[in-house]
């Protein structure tokens, strides 16, 4: 099964899940409603099933799948950023941003001291000053 067919199957399965479970469980109409609140979600589900089936049966040019190391690094960057965002209310904006920027600097292979100073210290402090002092808007 090619990547495209697999993706088509996933789209069909998602459309079916919407119709059979997600819409009935999460969309409810109040009595006397002019328009069924599930109309558009159901329309989308049927479209996904139809279009996914088309993708499943009609051959098309396979997408270029990125190397595993790139996907893993991207997942790492996303997880790191999410962790920083979740920690921010506890640890404060500046400390969290400094750690996040230091980690990203390592990931992008930046080793020059002056640029490290800009990324790790300069940027977080400058943004904090902009929001907290100039714009008078609180950050975590």
């Amino acid at each position: 099964m090619t990547v495209n067919r697999l993706l088509g199957a996933i789209v069909v399965a998602f459309g079916a899940t919407l119709l059979l479970w997600l819409i009935p469980a999460n969309v409810s109409a109040a009595p006397g409603s002019v328009m069924d609140p599930a109309l558009f979600p159901r329309l989308a589900a049927w479209l996904l099933i139809g279009l996914g089936t088309l993708q499943l049966i009609v051959p098309s040019e396979a997408p270029q799948v990125p190397p595993l190391w790139e996907v893993l690094r991207l997942a790492g960057v996303a997880a790191l950023t999410l962790a920083a965002v979740l920690l921010m209310p506890e640890t404060g904006y500046i400390l969290t941003s400094v750690v996040l920027m230091a980690a990203l600097a390592v990931l992008v292979h930046e080793r020059r001291i002056h640029w490290l100073a800009v990324i790790v210290a300069g940027l977080p402090v400058a943004i904090w000053l902009l929001f907290e002092i100039v714009l008078q808007r609180p950050l975590p």
Binding site: L22, M35, P41, L48, L74, L82, V108, E110, W115, R137
Partner: protein, 508 residues
Amino acid sequence: MPELATVLAGLTDAFTLHNLLFVLAGVTIGQIVGAIPGLNILMALAIAIPLTLTLDTLTAVAFLIGVNKGGTVGGAIPAILLNTPGTPESAATALDGHPMAKKGRPLKAMKYGLYYSVFGDISSDIVLITVSVPLAMVALKMGPVEILCLMIFAFTIITGLVGNSMVKGLIAATLGFLLAAIGLEPAQGTPRFTFGMLELYDGLPLSAMAVGFLAVSEIFHQIARSTRAQSGAATVSMRSTDPADRRVTLREVLANKYVALRAFLIGTVIGAIPGLGSATAGFLSYSITKQAAKDPESFGTGDPRGIAASESANSAVVGANLIPLLTLGIPGNIAAALLVSAFIIHGIQPGPLLFEQQGQLIYGLFGAMLMANLCNLGVGQIGMRLWAFVVGAPNTVIYPGALLLCVTGIYFTEGGLFGVIVMLVSAVFGYLMKTFGYSVVAFIIGFVLMAQLERSLLQTMLITDSNLWVVFQHPIAVVLLVLSAVSVLYLGPKRKGAPRAGSEAEVE
């Protein structure tokens, strides 16, 4: 017709050094905020309004108009230089602006963006000044039935932006359509797909979604793919030795005059209709221009027509938004609603009697708008060199810095961490969609248009007592439906025969 004395008195009030300096300050703030990924015009206006409380009415309004106009121009800068549109309306500019910048012509791309943006803005201001009242009457004829048909037309038009695979593009648009259903449904306010989370009752935040899908996904991708060998290179090359790569001649600007003119008309019409926005105008104009071109395959590769189509249209919305606001008191979008609040704070009551009761002030406002356009041109010329210098820094500095700005900007815009989490999740989905060839742009358009489509369908059903055949009694609606049918018939077969390399610009 207003008396000439009123017009001249208003313009005289506007053209003072004091007002010019405030307009200049407003434009500068707007351009800086617009150019920072994650920050947007609404935020700039929200910050600027309290600063105007001690100013006299005309100066205050002129300052805010400057912020509003500057923000639109500034939004194109990160879209062009980093492929990270800071605001949804500048996303269409990235489709051709960034490829042109990557070819070593970032200044040229920014100049195209600036010139067409100022053209769209000035032209729509002239429409506002000269024919705002009759145009507002026409816009009023666009009731729910007509807007429903306009949305249907817009959906058929976006087939031009679905990318290389029609099926995948339509899947992407359907997913956007589906995600827009999250939140309270418009008829009776019952929750839909909220999973018990209060934050989802307002739906997924557009700014966070758009910045995540369009900008942060690109930043993640660039950070993830960076290797030791590439480390330290500039994001775009600024070292072209050919002077033609750094300047835009009048001849080059005029070469796309019809594209810019059509884009301005689209932007003005969309802007004059309350409820539609700059993002819709930019994408609609880009799509129509691409489909009307003899060589649509050149779009997405750095074609100036793409920049002209997007920038003229989204900037034309800024002036046109004031048409329903000033003449009828109806704000066309959230930025216009913020302006209304500022107007009321300063004793201006927008509405049908405004021109009669405060004519001098309104013509002063028009004078300030024209000044703001010229300031945009001047500040933009200086600013683009500054931004080009900033982007000349290594990618190892630019991408982490842009990520931190997006996180901070969305935290601030959405008022908490929920928006930032939505942005990060959107970024991962955006990366996966791009990787597997699903158009992120089609997804965002589906998301933007669905809410308006559902609202206008509901309103249509209410006013027609659920008899949708009544649509055929509305001439404008019938014309739009015919155009939709023509669009489907014309675009469908044309696409099948000609798969277009490079038409999906965001997939690299």
